[in-house]
Symmetry: C2
Subunit: 428 residues, 2 copies
Amino acid sequence: MQSYEEMSKEQLYELQEGLEKEYAKYKGMGLSLNMARGKPSAAQLDLTMPMMDTLDSSSELVATDGTDCRNYGGLDGVPEAKELIAQMVDSKPENVIVYGNASLNVMYDTVSRSFTHGVMGHTPWYKLDKVKFLCPVPGYDRHFSITEFFGIEMVNVPMKEDGPDMDLVESLVSSDETIKGIWCVPKYSNPQGIVYSDETVRRFANLKPAAKDFRIYWDNAYVVHHLYEDDQAEILDILEECEKAGNPDMVYEFCSTSKISFSGAGIAGLVTSKANIEDIKKQMTIQTIGFDKINQLRHVRYFKDINGIKAHMKKHADLMRPKFEMVEKILEEELGGLGIASWLNPKGGYFICFESLEGCAKDIVARAQEAGVTMTPAGAPFPYGKDPKDSVIRIAPTLPTTEELETATRIFVICVKLASIEKFLKNE
Amino acid sequence: MQSYEEMSKEQLYELQEGLEKEYAKYKGMGLSLNMARGKPSAAQLDLTMPMMDTLDSSSELVATDGTDCRNYGGLDGVPEAKELIAQMVDSKPENVIVYGNASLNVMYDTVSRSFTHGVMGHTPWYKLDKVKFLCPVPGYDRHFSITEFFGIEMVNVPMKEDGPDMDLVESLVSSDETIKGIWCVPKYSNPQGIVYSDETVRRFANLKPAAKDFRIYWDNAYVVHHLYEDDQAEILDILEECEKAGNPDMVYEFCSTSKISFSGAGIAGLVTSKANIEDIKKQMTIQTIGFDKINQLRHVRYFKDINGIKAHMKKHADLMRPKFEMVEKILEEELGGLGIASWLNPKGGYFICFESLEGCAKDIVARAQEAGVTMTPAGAPFPYGKDPKDSVIRIAPTLPTTEELETATRIFVICVKLASIEKFLKNE
């Protein structure tokens, strides 16, 4: 396979001509395909339909502590839901607050509360001249949207193969007291699918932040979202590691069943130290009379425990894995050895992270859009939507059908080739 | 019936002696009764159990606009849920955002957003030296908790028999640009059960606020919560009146199904102008990927429309009315003509507002507690928990069984008598 860099101008022009024809053919088909969104497919959601039969009019809607789940109360969740969330993230029920819907609203809420009322008695952030968050990049656009919305300055930290660049994290966090947080997706990171190593987790737990109200925002979104039954990542329990390191209050861990049961109609958890929980409950008692406890019961009685969730996630994996593998196969067949792209083949999560030549990502996404394939906007995985190299593209294979996904990927690789050729031709 | 004021010291002592014996008898019973909480009874919640059969694993969980309610999306609610909420408050679906759980979280969210990001482009409240809210009193303690939590100064406005003192409201709102809102429960107000007259609603709609970001926080919590089939209050649609008055954006209306279906597991609505909705959605898109649309479907498919809700609320009324009437009967029999108490007999809502002699409310509540009857803390219906006259007590008759309620009320009236006698004896 000859790399594009080695090709002559003539060869590139010839290649371009053929590709333009292929591209035009697809464009003429008036397609509308979507590889942008980290949403489960309809087939995945079908897996959870039996949960709808779990509760009916004859059910005792009473929690194990006697709470009538039909009535007000139960601010921080019913005991069995705390237990289920705790099992998901390998923690303890007394460290769990159960929220509703999904984890995004919990993260928003956590930042919003810190802004308006501060963290455990520390100055509310709105009173501070500057608040900063570290943002491992590429990362999750909705994290960055929250911090941007609250005027928090975001500082990029490069991702390495076992997590964020911890030398940089340690040095920044220990020297700058305006740094109040860092966004992390420790397992099957969004979008790279990177798994934090034990050393990375331990270095996080042992941070010596200059800011007393510094917290690690540990979004364990894909904790049980493995693609391979026999190759599952495990990460250390950050809460336990923080306790061991004498930093028991330094982490807020988030998780939800949104990509396990129903997206946006699941239950979510905030997992943290008891001291943080007491602090947070002071606000919750003003904010709400409690989240939907009936939905908590529905989830617990359907899944029963972590084993139920694991068995269920295996079924998700069986639907998702062929899609990931198909995309990876096409990428390899079409782009392998050309020297114009690299990507990671994740073992879990919802995304494939694709890296083009510098300065090509926006061009590729625009070309794909023109041919009817919607990709996540280039730049989205970076704070302020600015990818310094304009090279990262997040591919989300889950939502389309396999057929749609194949067509979309074939169009995508043509766009990658065309954009790359154009770059080489311009540079000559 | 001789009033206490006309009694001699001797008569009062004699009365006191007999009452103390009665009181001691009850105290010896080791009771644990509760008239504090505006919660539906188990029997009321049983009414909604058939809703649990509305959806099952064979249901098409697709909204009328094609939205798959099992997946992310549908930020502001599915169309049929907007329609249902609109029918509840006599508004239009395009004026509705559907939230989850209950309305308290929507109100918190609304104040929190105004604090952090301002109202329709106006300065966020955190940047202002002072923000004030008008608080008709007595009112709902959880409203006051929210504004207190955000450091908003609360200004008492007396309630009259047809709503807040509008002369005072008009004069304050038009002259003070730090006044950014007023808390209202326009129908069957909490705790008095007062219904705002058409004139009151129109005067609200015609306010000329000094603050451009002034909003009426119209908590229509008891919009369909009538006690009497043949004597139902109707109030004017505040949104329509505001439009007519050229103040289309001046109101946020809140409602929920929390005391219709299941408390805390219902759906809630924010009803307001399209301009406000656009403004709010800018924040929501950062905050959440959407609320629980499956629960929205469940509610709509069970109740179908406002007529379904009305029929359902009649069943609630049939359970609640005898409780209210029993309390009112005991109050009348035991306290009528004594000149030591007054109360209102509401036509809807969740409370009976009781007024003792000045300076007696805390004493009464403490005595009741000592005999095993928990009342809402005296002072709770006022900002900062401070009842200037120490005379208002909120009675919540819904949660206990009829038997418990009768005992609790009988103990309560003894406490009222004892506290009143003590006041007269001290004053002599």
